[in-house]
Amino acid sequence: MAISRKPLDVDNYSALDGGNGTAIPGYYRRTNLNDIINNFMVAYVGDGKVLTKVPRYEIAFWAQKAVQEFSFDVFHSEKAIEIQLSSLRQMSLPSDYVNYVRLSYTDQSGVERTILPSGTTRANQGVAQDENYHYLYDEDGNIVYAEESETLQRFQNSENTVTTEEALDYYNGYYSFDTFGYYGRRYGTTPQFQNINGSFVLDLTAGQIYFDSVIPQDTYVTLRYISDGLGDNGNFDNVYVPKMAEDAVMMSILYNLSKLRSAAGAAAPLYKQEAAAKMRNAKIRLSNMKIEEMTNIFRNKAKWIKH
């Protein structure tokens, strides 16, 4: 049931705030997909309206497509999970993962330190081979892969970072010692590979993130990622759209439905423009620019911007 017609009384505040309601704090800022679909049917579908007859499942289809598209670049639908690394030093991707935003570990002060993807190692699949280097096949004739590729194992196990002592030696001019790891490389290194925060390799086939040796067991790692917003689309009551983008989602549904129907097709270009304009509006609204926060940042303008 739509919540927007309910009065803002004690029944709408949760027990956390001394109310009687069960609503989650902050619920009002969003609406669920069931309400959007029902609103759409009331407003646009029926006798004498833009669309005379459209089954609900078709509206639901385009509503979900809109939620997907909006999740990718309009909604702030970023999710974050934190795990403590096991001795394997790898992390499974969440089931609703679409792409990562940021990977970080948490230091002693609770500050998130960004972990960057490895620039030198990519995920691959190791083919299982016998002693004659021949490929191995299973009983169905399909090629057999090793559980983990040698490349990834070496990536995780190598001590490929500069220790503090080595770094000091480097800056103290002992770079010419042949025991020094950087011997003969005084001409410099690429800053990208000097990052002390470590790196990771993303293996989308295996659904795993592998960390290098800089990041030890028991480190708390946080993955911020975007989903398509449909992780729980078995029940549209659990699929949410920010109210600031509700109209844009409805216009997206209307455009997609009308362009497929000859009776409404003439107006489809108009709906397309309106959908694009409302999507742009939603993007601006949800960009969440606050004047005080911007002022605070600009007051640091005298500082040297390093990157």
Binding site: P55, R56, E58, F61, L230, N235
Partner: protein, 238 residues
């Protein structure tokens, strides 16, 4: 509801000129059923015609609404119980309307469509987005985990009217005792059941019955009168 005795008596008066056209209760009951069904079935074509032409729309002269009001006298709902994966139709079904599952409207899909609907991760039926298909004896609701909470809203067929009577000697006298179609028998003469049509159909009903009665009693002028009346009704409605 239209009182069946009023209709019978009026028909007798109109058909029984010169005492040559008596219509027995049994004959009348059969013609009454036929006439009621004929008027009821004509609603749908008439409504479709009105919708196509648009027509006048104001408070009391909106033909689409007027017809809809008459049709909706036959609107019913029931909660069927699943049997072998199918929710059976009610016995008096004329046309299926809205099907809902726990107050959520289910979509009707063809047998081909439902196969694709089941394959798409965005349209796969769930309890909050149910779909149904129509079968010979009932409907199949998807997802198949739904076994309760199905509600069918539908148009029922008009119940057969009955002019019941009790004999006093050889003369049948009207018996106004209500007839219950679920428990009582049409083969017993007692008890009556009125027409279920809207009361505004009174004149149309008599004209239609007279049309049939003219055939029964072989009075062409009665049939001609009825046909003329019916043509006039159609003209005034359109």
């Amino acid at each position: 509801m239209i009182n069946i005795d009023n209709v019978y008596q009026t028909v007798l008066v109109l058909a029984n000129k010169d005492n040559r056209g008596y219509i027995t209760p049994d004959e009348f009951n059969r013609m009454a059923d036929q006439a009621q069904n004929e008027i009821f079935e004509a609603y749908f074509m008439r409504e479709a015609g009105y919708e196509m032409t648009g027509g006048l729309q104001s408070d009391f002269s909106n033909p689409v609404y007027n017809i809809a009001e008459r049709i909706n006298l036959f609107y019913k709902s029931n909660n069927p119980t699943i049997a072998n994966g199918i929710f059976p139709y009610p016995d008096d079904l004329r046309q299926l309307g809205v099907v809902s599952v726990n107050n959520i409207v289910a979509d009707r899909a063809s047998h081909e469509e439902v196969k694709y609907i089941n394959l798409s991760p965005l349209t796969y039926p769930v309890a909050t987005q149910p779909v149904y298909t129509i079968n010979a004896t009932g409907i199949t609701v998807f997802p198949d985990t739904i076994t309760t909470g199905v509600k069918m809203e539908y148009l029922k067929n008009p119940t057969r009217p009955k002019w019941g009577y009790v004999l006093q000697g050889t003369v049948p006298y009207y018996d106004s005792t209500p007839f219950d179609p679920a428990t009582d028998s049409y083969s017993t003469p007692a008890k009556s059941y009125n027409f279920e049509l809207d009361s505004s159909e009174y004149a149309q009903l008599i004209a239609t019955i007279l049309g049939y009665a003219g055939l029964t009693i072989k009075q062409g002028d009665v049939t001609g009168f009825a046909q003329g009346k019916e043509a006039k009704f159609q003209q005034t409605e359109q």
